[in-house]
Each structure stands twice: as C-alpha cells, then as structure tokens.
Amino acid sequence: MNHLKPINRKAARVERATEPDVVALQRTGLPQLPHFPIGCSLVFSPGWEADRAGGTAGLCQPVERDLFDCHIGCYWPAQVPDQLNHAPDWTSKCAAAQKDWRKIDLIFP
C-alpha cells in the first residue's frame, strides 16, 4: 500500500493501526490456504471453526443468525443439519434465531 497516501485523519489512523501486531491484517499474498494444525476433519473455505486467517474474527457471527442459510442450502453438511435429508423441519421451533436459538436441536444422523 505504499503507493497510497492517507489524505484525512481516519485514513492515517488506519495506516498506523496496521503497522504493529494486528496479525490477521498483516497477512498478505492472498489467496492463502488456511492452516489448521489442530485437526484433520475441518473446514470448507473459509472454515466453520476458523476463518481464512486461521482465527475467529471473520466467522459469521453470531452463528445462530446465520445457521438457517446453511441449513436450507445444505451448505455445511458436516456441521449443520441439511434440510433435504436429515432434518427437514429443523427450523420449525425456531421462528427467529436471535430469540429462539435455545430451541435449536442437536441432530444425530
């Protein structure tokens, strides 16, 4: 980013903030595959357990707000019950995830 110069105070703050210690923002050279030294059974791209930088900052949050897209699209079949096969009415007790998240069941396939 050396060819860009901050022209207002906020931009200057952003530039300063990225100098030290912000690990995720310092990663360059994307696309970079995430490295998970903690297991062999994880992840899509980006992962369920971790984001593309190997942390949690970039995960869909809170997870309950996002679950139903995954369910309806069968997007995370290893992590979320899929609507087509294993749990057609998984969402029936949970009209609004933000309020009703305690009614989400664990599914034993």
Binding site: G54, T56, A78, D82
Partner: protein, 557 residues
Amino acid sequence: MTARNPIALALFMLIAPIARAQPAPPDDGGMPVRNDIVRAKCGACHRTDDKGRMSRISYRRATPENWEKTIKRMVVLNHASLEPADARIILKYLADQQGLAPEEARPVEFEPERRMVEFSYDKDKDTADTCGSCHSIARVLSERRTKEEWELLVAMHRGYYPLVDNQPMNGGQGFRRTRPMQTEPGPDGRPPDNRHPMDKALEHLTKTLPLKTSEWAAWSAAMQPPKLAGRWAIIGALPGKGAVYGQVTIAADPSGADSFTTETRYTVARTGEAVSRTGKALVYTGYQWRGREGEWRQVMFVERDWKSMSGRWFTGAYDETGVDVKLVRLSGEPAIFGTSVAALKTSSTAQAVRIFGANLPTTLTPADVGLGQGVKATRVVSARPDEIALEIEVAAAAPVGVRDLSLPGAVKTGALVVYDTIDAIKVTPQAGMARVGGNVFPKQFQQFEAVGINNGPDGKPGTADDLDLGIVNVKWSIEEYTATFGDDDAQYVGTLDENGLFTPAVDGPNPKRVGDRNNVGDVWVVAELVERPLRARAHLLVTVPLYMAWFQAEGGK
C-alpha cells in the same frame, strides 16, 4: 424421463445410486454375503446374485465405524427397519468379513481413536480437496471399493447434497462441472489435464484403495478369533496429569463371539488419584478393540502376537478428553511400568518416588534398587507387588541424562531422567481447540500441559539429547491474540484453571459483545514456571458448536 423433464431427471439422479443398483459384473472381487440376517434385512433393496453377492454391499470393505455410519444412514434416510440387536449382528458380520487388513487400517487409526492430529493427504490433491473439505480424509481412507462403487459414492454425495456441484472447495473446484478450460501446456510441456477434479479423484481412489488387495487376502485368511483373556498392564498418558499405570483384567464374555468383559484399575502416577471401572468390549476383524466402560470408550489396535494393544480411551461430548494407552500382557515375571516422577533433580535428598509394576519383589532393601551413577535409594518406605515407595537421594555431581531403573528380576529402560536445571518449558498441544456450550450444546474442553526441558549433556537447546522432564508446576493465564482492531476475545472465551484445563464460556449470542458475537475467539494460553520466570505459550481457538453429531459411535456398546 427425458431431459425435457428436469424434475424427473433430478429425482432419478437422487434415487438411482441409493436404491436397487444393478449387480456389478462378475470377477471384480465381489464378496458373497453368507449371513442370513444381512440377507434378510438388507435384501429388500440389495439384490443377491447367483453367487450370493449383494448389490453394493459385496463390493466394499470398511472399518466398523464406516459400516456403522452406513447402517445408520440406511435406517434414517432409506427407511430400513432394523432392531438394534440385528444392527449389531450386521455390523459385526460386515466389519469382520469385509473389513480392512491391519496394514490398511493402521495409518488411519487416529480416526476411530478420535484424535485431533494434523494429517494431510499428500498423495493426490484433488482427492484431498474434494473429500477432505467436508469431512476427515481418513474417513475415505477407511474404505476399499471397486471402481463402480467409488463412482456410486460420489453420485450419492451429489444426490444428497446437490449444492456441492456449485461449491468451490479449499480454493479448488470441488464437484463443480463448469469451469474455464486450460489451454496452455503445463510446466513439463504436456497438454493441460482438463479432467474434472472428481474424475481425477475417482481414478486415484480406484487405483489406491481397491476392493481386492494382497493385504486383505492375507489377513482374511489368517484372521482368528482373538484370545485376549488375562491380565494386562496399562501404561498410559493422560494429558495434563501425566503418566498413568495400572492393570486391566480381560475375561472372555460367553454371550457373544469376540466379546470380552474388562475390569480396569489405574493410578495417576503424579497425583496418586486412583481410577477403577468395569466394562465390555468387542473385537472386530480380529484386531480392532472397541470397548466401553461407563462414559469412557476404548479404541485399541490389537497386535498380531496378542501380547500388546494400543490406542486411546476417551470421553466428553466431542471425545476430547482422553488417555493414550498401551496394554501389555502380563506373565508371572516381575515387570516395572514406570515411576511417579519423570525427573530427579541433582542435589536432592529424600525424594519420594513410587514405582508401579506387577509381581514386584516385596522384600526389598535400598541396595536392590539401581538407578545409575550418583543416584541411590536411601529407604524403602513400602513394597507391594504392584507398587513400591522409595526415598531417593541424588548427588550434586550426578551426571545429567536418561536412567534405567532396576529391581531384582526387572529393568525399566529410560524410566526417568536426572537433570540440574529446567532450561525451558513447552506447552502442549501447541494449538488447541474448544467449543462454546452449556446452554443448548455441550462444551468442548481443552486440556493443556506444560513440560520442562533440560538442554541435556551437550548443554545446547533444541538438540537430540534434550531431556523431557515431564509435567512441571506452572501458573496458567490467557492473553489476547490480537487478530483485529479492539480485539476483546480474552475477556469472553472462558477460563483456564490451575491445572491447565480450559473451560469455554456458554453458547448463544452475547449481548455484551459487538454485533452480539458468540463467546468465540482466539487467544494465547500462557504458562509461567513457578520457580523462575520462564514462559511458554500455545494458541487456543474457541469456536462454535457442531449441530450435527456425526461423530457419535456406538462401537462396543
């Protein structure tokens, strides 16, 4: 059904691979099914040919866990009606008669042992990406199939999860059919390989994991019902607590073939905590021990000489709490399993050391105990056949290094080490993972431990002669792993107790966090030595729950 009727076509694609698949052509290694219950219960959909081979079933070999997942899927999704007793008979028959040879199963033993290990499949990138993006690649390596069976397996995934066809995987193309064609030749000058990754993976799987192998031909002929009854030594390691020693008495259970009952007693060497449990176990395919003692499951690999077996015993909602064990068959001879301390410091007197074993001498004098130069027993506090308590003195000039421990009739090589200082500490695991829970979903805990390291006789760090001093007393804390602006994970993710056990916070949106974030985050777990300021740290990922319990296995129940 024509292409003009897309719904019928889609339905056909969904159903065709699962129901009434055509029997495969002859001489492809299909194995006849000789069990009446398998034939009766599975025969409604799986046709039997004139050689007794059943469609699909006869053309696949797999571990007990993989067969179990299939049987469950047949019940849940394909309306197979099965009583638990019949399901157990079917599972036992298929795992025994169409299982994996020991050589085939050993490389992926971490899968049934539910270990969090780093494993990447480097033999074929397309296979690793296509299969390993959703589930453990070890699940695939736990199977052997004919070419047609591998193709049908891919078809099944596309039928059940149609979205995979439009889903890029790990930066690759996944199951997607459409993509830009490469026209440029590769670096080796050859024309580009424009085959679909799925097709490349299928070629690899057919070639590398075929139904017929010389290993299975040999093992299926040599396999015998294992005779494991007797007394066995337990030598184990419990993360965070250190070595455990004890005995398990295995008896044949007359109620079923390859069934056993177990009576287990062990002691956590460092703390003296005693554990005793009883349970049952079943051995599949002649060598795959699957046991259960209360909430604890046992997965072990029985060696071919029936003299030792090793694996992992585990519990916890995500199988995250476990002990690595090795069982060794006991004879009437004295045997030393290990000691209560892993390391002895120079210039120390009256150090209490307990020796665990079997058939140990009960009349013992300090002179009978050998520990090498500069180390001697000064007093025998007590002596029982399974445990001897000693007081040990280590001279100031005792040379640093690994020591053997000898008693009359028994020697334990590398029983403990002599050291002068703790030069470094290390936190294991270097990367841990926990899952929030407690409100609706269970918590996944993470145990850390800090071990001491001495630089060894050469005095240089990071060399082969470095000494592992075992668990050392440290003060545990959590520090922020800064990943973004205003990172506040350390405040919310959970707590770490004085023994290095991390307990994650509760699940659900947290209104105190920006955007109602869950209590997820990534932090450093820091250990600081009590006696002097030596620090080490490990990374901890605290993440979201799983909403599907694929990992629940019934083996050994």
